[in-house]
Symmetry: C2
Subunit: 106 residues, 2 copies
Amino acid sequence: MELEQLAECYKAMADKTRLNILALLRHEELCVCELVEILQMTQPSISQHLRKLKQAKLVKERRNSQWIFYSIDGEIYPFIKENLEALPDMSEKIEQLKVSGGKVCC
Amino acid sequence: MELEQLAECYKAMADKTRLNILALLRHEELCVCELVEILQMTQPSISQHLRKLKQAKLVKERRNSQWIFYSIDGEIYPFIKENLEALPDMSEKIEQLKVSGGKVCC
DNA sequence: ATGCTATATAAACATATGGTTATATACTAA
DNA sequence: TTAGTATATAACCATATGTTTATATAGCAT
């Protein structure tokens, strides 16, 4: 692959918050407000991280009325599967979101 | 794996120069002066990049008299093989080095 | 020892990155 | 239309990163 594209990919993954987002999206697609709730960060911050991931083609978005759902993409990277598998399991966080009713908004 | 460690790995790979170094080391171990010659960058710059790669455990070093040879490590990362395979082929650069006599010094 | 080569480290600086606050946009509901 | 919610973008600022120049360290050769 092109070094340019690879560098963009790794740059996008070179941040704990974005790795957390990818780890969460491995379980299921999520909208911005859910990520804000789970990661306890401000909405603009989450949005900016998502933009970087999207630019690197690591996630894709889908609009559903007022919500925008993000999910894993990365199909341009031959190694994406192995890299995602190395991420920690986030089922607990996802569960917490559902229990706390954070899932209601979407 | 720990997010901390993964982030360090991707940070180390999030730079074109360092990806170039990894791509070159895939072919064979190289010393600093050879990398300086191939990449046409200053020695301190190369040394600092190597330090980051070493800290992330992506390369290891071996001293041989006054030269320090760097080679691929990355065994702590389950995905390392697939990621290295995505790097562009550098045989041409390695050939050039040998032809130009740059290989003589080491 | 002395000088030479290879490499590492430090200091300084410009640029990139990530967070915050404020504002704009897009959609929904009334 | 107006108000409310979800998201994106912009401006600002503090910190991180990469490059350069200068200097220190380590090993070799004489």
